[in-house]
């Protein structure tokens, strides 16, 4: 039963519960006109303590397409946070006005803390470099549609694996499906954090390797998940300049990739996927954006218990 639940970590929901969300998302994709009044009279609160136009628009579009309404703030300067209000009080207040909350916060664990004070479902829309579960839902739905299922896959994750929260969430989520192998492609400085290796990969005895060069492993991949090497995550400019072009996907590298490779990217992209790749049938990242909105529609509907 998903009604009334929070979504903080991708593992909050069982594989079966995720299946329910994905099945509903596929129904919405196939017949969006059947869902335009599903959330009439319901209000989504979007609390964005850190600007993220893309994610916020995805949530807001999702709610509007379901016939619901949206209130909220897109940066903390336009809220009572600047007056020094603590998080529990803000959440209690917004929960009194709305039926469901989507929250982004620069501090890790903030949505988990906030959920303890919310009597309406609270969705983590990204917390610092930690988790981004609805991006993971978008990723999983895209893989499910591209491959037909979520098992027996070799998944390459490339770029900034240390601070990339979408990567951490995806590893956690995919590690629950059968026969998944990970190839982690990053500079040594930006490898996945220790807790992901200890708590997820080692504990579940999942097959994974860490490599430095994409071209060495691309032919083995079923899924290639590219990430941006974010300038703001670096401690100094010199390191950023040295590493930023190390992991760029272009036509040349794709020559040795499988015909049915699925290329994903959480977006926004800078230059880690060359624009010449966009027309390749293996490029799924723009479909992934659209599926992200549909999967948020399905999530909202399930948590509100209207479907």
């Amino acid at each position: 039963m998903l009604k009334g639940r929070h979504l903080i970590d991708p593992q909050d929901f069982s594989v079966e519960e995720l299946d329910q969300i994905f099945s509903l998302a596929e129904e919405i994709i196939n017949n969006p006109e059947n869902f335009t009044h599903l959330c009439n009279g319901k209000i989504l609160g979007t609390l964005f303590y850190e600007p993220s136009t893309r994610t916020r628009l995805s949530f807001e579009s999702a709610m509007l397409r379901l016939g619901g309404e949206v209130v909220g703030f897109s940066e903390p300067s336009s809220s009572s946070v600047t007056k020094g209000e603590n998080l529990p009080d803000t959440i209690r207040t917004v929960a009194a006005y709305t039926d469901i909350i989507a929250m982004r916060h620069p501090k890790e664990g903030a949505p988990k803390y906030a959920s303890q004070f919310s009597n309406v479902p609270l969705i983590n829309a990204g917390d610092g470099g930690h988790q981004h579960p609805t991006q993971t839902l978008a990723d999983l739905l895209t893989i499910r549609i591209a491959k037909g299922n979520l098992t027996n896959l070799t998944i390459g994750l490339c770029g900034d694996l240390k601070f990339g929260r979408t990567v951490h969430s995806l590893i956690k989520a995919m590690s629950r499906y059968e026969n998944i192998k990970f190839i982690l492609i990053s500079p040594n400085e930006l490898q996945v954090p220790k807790y992901i290796k200890t708590e997820v990969l080692d504990r579940k005895l999942i097959d994974y390797i860490e490599v430095e060069r994409l071209e060495d492993v691309i032919e083995r991949l079923d899924i290639l998940y590219m990430t941006r090497v974010q300038k703001e995550r670096f401690f100094n400019e010199a390191d950023y300049i040295r590493l930023k072009d190390s992991y760029i996907l272009d036509k040349e590298k794709l020559k040795s990739a499988k015909e049915d490779l699925t290329i994903l990217h959480p977006l926004p992209r800078v230059n880690e996927i060359s624009m010449e790749v966009d027309n390749d049938p293996r490029a799924w990242y723009f479909k992934q954006v659209r599926y992200g909105m549909f999967v948020r529609m399905a999530l909202i509907a399930k948590l509100l218990g209207v479907k």
């Binding site: 501090k107 890790e108 664990g109 610092g128 807790y195």
Partner: protein, 142 residues
């Protein structure tokens, strides 16, 4: 050998890992005690070679979860009439609240007023905990 008199009524915290006795002494605020206390460091131990011990000539409330968290091999002996009437073996607690601080500067606990730092046990054998909010790993061994 240094001799410390046995106590009539009180608590003996035994088998403390050498070097950790002072931490427990400080945690229990025994430096401010108005009853007899003894911190014995590097005593000979048949079990571990060396150990620290604390003798407390009083009955005080002990947070066994906290003691277990500091050192799960500790034994707590409750003494009455100079005899051990109860021997408590400790283990690592499943949850630790309000005792240790999350060191991740990006964690919500570094910003919010009044938030309790909470950790959950991840690996009993290695003594590894994680922050309930940000998943930061915490281990006594560092």
């Amino acid at each position: 050998m240094l001799n410390i008199n046995s106590i009539t009524k009180g608590i003996v915290i035994d088998h403390i890992k050498p070097g950790y006795g002072i931490r427990i002494f400080e945690y229990l605020k025994l430096d401010r005690a108005n009853f007899t206390v003894a911190l014995i460091m590097n005593a000979t131990s048949r079990k571990y070679g060396r150990k620290d011990m604390i003798k407390i000539e009083n009955v005080i409330d002990l947070d066994l979860a906290m003691l277990g968290f500091i050192d799960p091999n500790i034994t707590v002996n409750i003494i009455e009439d100079e005899k051990i009437i109860e021997k408590i073996n400790l283990s690592l607690p499943d949850r630790v609240e309000g005792i240790i601080q999350c060191k991740n500067p990006r964690c919500i606990t570094s910003e919010e007023r009044g938030i309790t730092h909470k950790f959950v046990l991840l690996d009993e054998n290695k003594g590894i905990y994680k922050c309930e909010y940000c998943d930061q790993i915490y281990s006594w061994e560092g």
